[in-house]
Every structure is written in C-alpha cells, then in structure tokens.
Assembly symmetry: C2
C-alpha cells in the first residue's frame, strides 16, 4: 500500500463516496456476507466440468464471448431456461436471458434501465443492503412497504401506490425478493403474488423480481415466479448461482422481454461476463445441479438448526425469530433496548460480525433492535461459539440476555 505525493483529492467529484477502509481479514466469527458452506462446494464435479469444457471448447476463449454472443454462454442460458421452467414455472428460451457477473450486475443494469436521480421506487421495507445502497447512491427515493409472515403487505402497497399516484408520482418499479425474502426469509404465497401483479398492472408499475434464494427452500417446493404468473409480461426476473453453487463464481442472469434486454445489453459495455465461469457452471449444472442443490439444502438446514439452538440457549426468550423456510440467514428481533448498530460495532470488536437491522431496512426505527445472522459459512462449532460470544457482548452492553445457557449472569 503506497501513497502518492500527487494531489489527486482536488480532482475528485464532490459526489464520490467515501474511500474504502483497507480490508484486514474476515471476523473470527463471520455471520455476514452471504458466503456459502465451504464443505458443500462440489469441488470434484467442478474439476471434472472444468476439464471437460476446456478440452472441448477451450480455444473459444480467444473470442470475447466464446462465439455465443453478448447475451452470454449459450449452453448456460439453455440450462437456466430449463431450470426456470422446471422450478419456477417460467416459460422462456435462451433468447430471453442475459448472463451477468452476479446478480449485483443485474441490479446495476436493471436499475440503470429505469432510474435516474429523483425517481421513486417501491421496496420491501426490509431488504437487501446492496439493493438499498444502490438506490441511495443513485439518489432514487425508496418507499418501503412493511412485511408480515407472508412477505410484502398488499394492503399497504395498494395504499402507497394510490398515494403516490395522487401526488403525480409513478414509481419506476416494485422491487421484491418474494421467495425467501432477504432478510426476513418470508415466502410470498401464490395468492399474494396475484394481488401484487394486479396492483402492478393497475398502476402501470413493473415488478422487479429478485429470486436469488429461491433454490434454497428446504421443502424444495416454491411458488411460481412472478415472472411466470404475469399475463402482461410486466416483470423483470433476476437470479444467480451464488447461493446454489458458489458465490465467488460471479454468475447471475436477467430474464425479461426484449424491450428490457435490448436496453440492458446497450448498458452492458463489459465485453461479456467471465466465460470460463459460465462454461464450467453450464458443464457442472447439466449433470449435477438437481442433486447438488438438495445436498446443499440439507447442510444449510442443519446449520440453521444449530443457529436456532444456540440462540435459544444463549439468548433465551430475548431473541425472537421464525424458523426460516430456506436461505442462508436468520432475521432476529432483540428487545427494544438493544441498539443493533451499537451491538454490531461492539461484537465486531470482539470478533463477531453480524448485520445490524438498520443497514437492511429503509425504516431505521422498525429495525433498530433487529439483526441478520448468516449461517452458511461458519462451521457448527463456530456458530455455537460465535453466538455465545455475541450473547456475552450483548449482555455486557445492554444487560440482555440476563441469563444464558441457563446460568444467571451479573449484569
């Protein structure tokens, strides 16, 4: 790390975000970041896939898009189309898909197709931090709709749309994570999906469906995607292999009508997303996806069980949560006197990384005492130790939990 005598700072635009802090490694107990379970990475199958696809098509790497065009590696698009039909009820072909560098690039591209500074969008009140931050940086207003056990509340959405309309505001889209919502892990029922689509059509506001956790439902049964249920085609659907295979492979996709994809492609000036990752994934998925994902779910389900057990043991009734039906995170409510932003800082100093509620919400008051705990990456032992340490920090800071592991502590 070197610094410079040159005066760069006077050249930076005023709008530039604050500089990043130098990364110094992950926390000892890492409950953040959406990482996956290292033990379940299908290393041998990926090795076989890499070898086979490089042998067969390696020379095509000399071409920016391995000769399959700007929409991405065609065999992978074909797999995605097949998978979406089987799992999500979506009827589409490889032509309706653009492969992207993780669903984060999908967010950037779809956001840019619709939004400029001053626009308004509708979000679930609690939502993915990376999505919320993108809107903040773009200067787009986010209207948050509260969630209940069934996801985004349609009565509040209807009222918000009516209110915005009365003020002459047409939101650019309704962004939702309907299937294992991040961070609440709720799954929107099919009936509610119909209500959402009806409102979307009535108000002319498209739906932006982020489905990146949909493969990780313990039961293996998911409602059809909003994209599949829409009769007017007013849905943009995005997904990812980060959660189902491996996050360090930056491979996601956008499914949308050509009106949208042609705009996405005009904005996607990166000469294609990484081809080797797409090639290896395609080769792996066509053989192993349907067996790999259930194995992954089993492993994740077991880690969630350990996490809930550890929370019950360490926090007792102080930690409220619903058993998540899938995913890699648990949304936990602590008593009102716990300031999760402060807890997050103190815990991090003690070696435990958690997500404080306000960073995953557009309603800082509502989420003040809530935390998001990712359970896929740490081992069962690390989950137990980390939650014990978190309870200790929380107790010393807020007097909560008063009792843990059935032992009364002095506070």
């Amino acid at each position: 790390m070197r610094s410079s005598a040159f005066d760069f700072a006077s050249l930076f635009p005023a709008s530039l975000p604050a500089p990043a802090i130098k990364w110094t490694g992950a926390a000892r107990y890492n409950f953040v970041g959406g990482h996956n379970d290292p033990a379940v990475v299908p290393v041998d199958a990926l090795r076989t896939a890499a070898d086979a696809v490089l042998l067969r098509e390696g020379r095509a790497l000399a071409n920016y898009t391995v000769n399959t065009g700007p929409q991405g590696y065609r065999p992978l698009r074909e797999f995605v189309a097949e998978k979406l039909k089987r799992d999500a009820g979506i009827s589409c072909t490889a032509e309706d898909i653009v492969m992207v560098s993780g669903s984060l690039q999908a967010l950037d591209l779809v956001n840019a197709v619709f939004c400029v500074r001053g626009d308004t969008v509708i979000y679930e009140q609690e939502s993915y931090q990376g999505s919320i931050n993108r809107m903040t940086r773009m200067g787009v207003n986010v209207v948050g709709i509260p969630l209940d056990d069934g996801g985004m509340r349609m009565d509040v959405l209807a009222a918000a749309l009516a209110d915005l309309k009365s003020r002459g505001v047409r939101p650019k889209f309704i962004y939702t994570i309907p299937t294992v919502q991040n961070p609440t892990a709720t799954i929107m029922s099919e009936a509610r999906r119909l209500e959402l689509l009806k409102l979307s059509e009535d108000y002319g506001v498209p739906v932006f469906e982020d489905d990146c956790y949909a493969d990780l439902i313990w039961s293996g049964k998911r409602p059809p995607a909003l994209y599949a249920m829409s009769k007017t085609g007013g849905v943009v659907h995005i997904g990812s292999f980060s959660k189902s295979v491996a996050p360090a492979l930056r491979v996601g996709y956008i499914v949308a009508p050509w009106e949208i994809l042609s705009r996405v492609l005009a904005l996607k000036t990166d000469a294609g997303s990484g081809a080797l990752e797409q090639m290896v994934l395609a080769e792996f998925c066509k053989v192993h996806f349907t067996t790999h994902v259930p194995a992954l779910r089993t492993a994740l389900r077991a880690k969630l069980a350990t996490l809930m057990e550890a929370l019950n043991e360490q926090f007792g009734t102080a930690a409220e949560f619903e058993d998540a039906p899938g995913g890699i995170f648990l949304w936990v409510r602590l008593p009102d006197q716990v300031d999760s932003m402060k807890l997050y800082q103190k815990a991090l100093a003690a070696g435990v990384a958690i997500n404080p509620g306000p960073e995953w919400s557009v309603n800082a008051v509502h989420s003040k005492s809530r935390i998001r705990i990712c359970f896929a990456s740490p081992s069962h032992e690390e989950i137990r130790e980390g939650i014990a340490l978190l309870a200790e920090v929380c107790r010393s800071e807020f007097g909560i939990p008063a009792r843990s592991a059935n032992v009364q502590k002095r506070v």
Copy 2:
C-alpha cells in the same frame, strides 16, 4: 426473444442509450473486436491449472473473495506485481493492485473516480473506441491530441494544457495507451514519456496509463511504464490478461496509490470479480506466462505479415500503413475519397467486419479514410480472403484500388 404487452417504454429515462440490435453472429471475415488467436489458447496448461487450483482451493469458492479480500485473488495480484516489476519497471506489491473484470471495468472505475458530466479529459486523438464511448456517455469533454510515429505529440499537449489552463479548465486526466497505442500501434519513447510526466506534474493533471497491449511487442522489449517513471506517483496504471492469455477470461487490474484504490474499491460494489478465472490465471501464469507470451507473439507476428502482404497485394499503394511493432491490429490509411463509415457498412454486408476510423478517433475528419484491422482471430487463409473481399467492396464503392493482385479491374 419475446416481447411484452406492458408499457415499459414510458418509464425509461430520456438519457437511456438506444436499444441494442439482436446479435446474429460474427461476420464471416471478422477483423474487429480484439479477439485473440484460437490456435494459441494454452488449453492444456489451462486444464492443468484449473484442476490443480480447484483441488487445492476449490472450497474457498464458498467465500465471495476466496478469503483474499476485495482487491482480488492474492496469488494473482502477487504475480502481477512480479510481472510488472520484471517487464515494466514498476515497483509495487499485491497491496497496490485491484483485480477487476477486464480492463473495461478498470476504465469504468477510474473514470468514475475522477469524472462527472461537464468535466474535461485529454486523450490521444485516435484512441480505443470503448474508452471514447464511455466519455461520450458520461458527458465528459474529450480534447484529442494528435499522434505521430512516436505516439502523442508533446508540443500539442503542452499547447492544449496551456490553453485549457488559460480558460480555467483543469482536465481530470491525460488518458494514454503509450505502449502499442490503440489503434495506431505506436510506442511512446522513454524520452517522450519523461516529457509527458513533466507536463502532467506542471499542470497537476494525472496520467491514466492503459497498458493492455504492452505484452505483445514483437521484440519483447518495452519502455518502462509511465507509472514506473513518475516521481510524484501521479499515474494510474491499468492492464489486462485479455490480450496475453484470453479475452473471454475477464481479468484486468488497476495499479495506483491507495488514494485512488480506496476510491476504486468504494465504487466496486460487485462483491469481487470472478474468482475462478483469477485462480486459474494465477496458477497458469506462474508457470507458463513467460513462455506462452513469446509463442503468442510469434503467431501474431506471422498473422500481421500475412495481413500486410494481403493489403499490399490487394490494395497496392492505396493502403498506407506502418509495420506495427506489436499488438493485434493495423491502422490503415486509404485514399481521401474513401469514406470509411460507408466502406464499413458495405463490407459488413459482404461479410467483412472492419473498424471505421471515425469510431476510433475524436477527429472524424482526420480519421475519415482510415480503418482498423484486427488480425489475431482470423486464420491466415481468412485474412487473405477477407482482405481480397474488402478490396473488391472498396473498389466497387470508391474505385479504389483500381488494380489489385496485379490485375487491372474495370471500375
């Protein structure tokens, strides 16, 4: 490809670029796009590298940055630091490097660190189309400095800086491709590099050095990078593996002082660039880079010879060019009556893709009769056939060349 009954169009911002045209395959004779030679892709070595690195570190793919942090896969950063020291005279460590998804992402990130709408930057008058287009889309003014056989002209740069200063304009940077300039293939001498750095310091305008072709100099000898020569650290350096290994692997890098890297990282919200590509490259490069690159150069040099031979044969004195000292493209001047935008369209219709000069220049008049021909991807036979066909199109459209392959044609 499906379309939608939903009215998306009324939601699009006015600033949205025009929709992309559906891709229908590459031209039969493809002289565009910066593709590489398929025959030289080191398939077997990449297979071995992929297998070894997946076996050893595959489980780390469960972590977004394979546990090496947001600056990118550490062993690859270490390789880049070593390579830059050996080849470009740059003294840096892995801490001074951020790996990115191809040098196109490097352009986006560095541009965003410095520029907003209305700003001014300095470019070589002829430059990479992808760089020029980025500035156009950002609404940044580009001042073009003419080139001669030694690259950007320092007398004109000095005058331009003085003129801008007199008008109260401090450009955000001087963007240059000093080592095998795109499209002119010139190499800026060490003496001229010193002049450029002096002007940069005198005017407080940093240098943005794009070095993506520097590995492809036939002689294997390159001048030190501007980054290496700067005494004040006022240079941002970017590079890529697209030209030296394979373009479909989207792996590039930024070398800069921490003042810049910390801003780049704050803007790089993609959860890391693809890790598998970085891992495979690192594993491959540490063993094979120094033998692979000379083999690639030999293959490219031979293709350039074929291209120049074909041009001489088909165009005679109508096609003027300098023997390029490296790279993957040739910048060709045709007689003044040739409108290269029109030639490009007619040639494409006939199955020959070339780059028209005005798309690679900020001076449409100067580049009106110039074309850029990429020679790495087509076979020797395709080069000969494609140039013959191009000559035929050019003759039928502009009466030039009047004679080709030593046969007088009716015009």
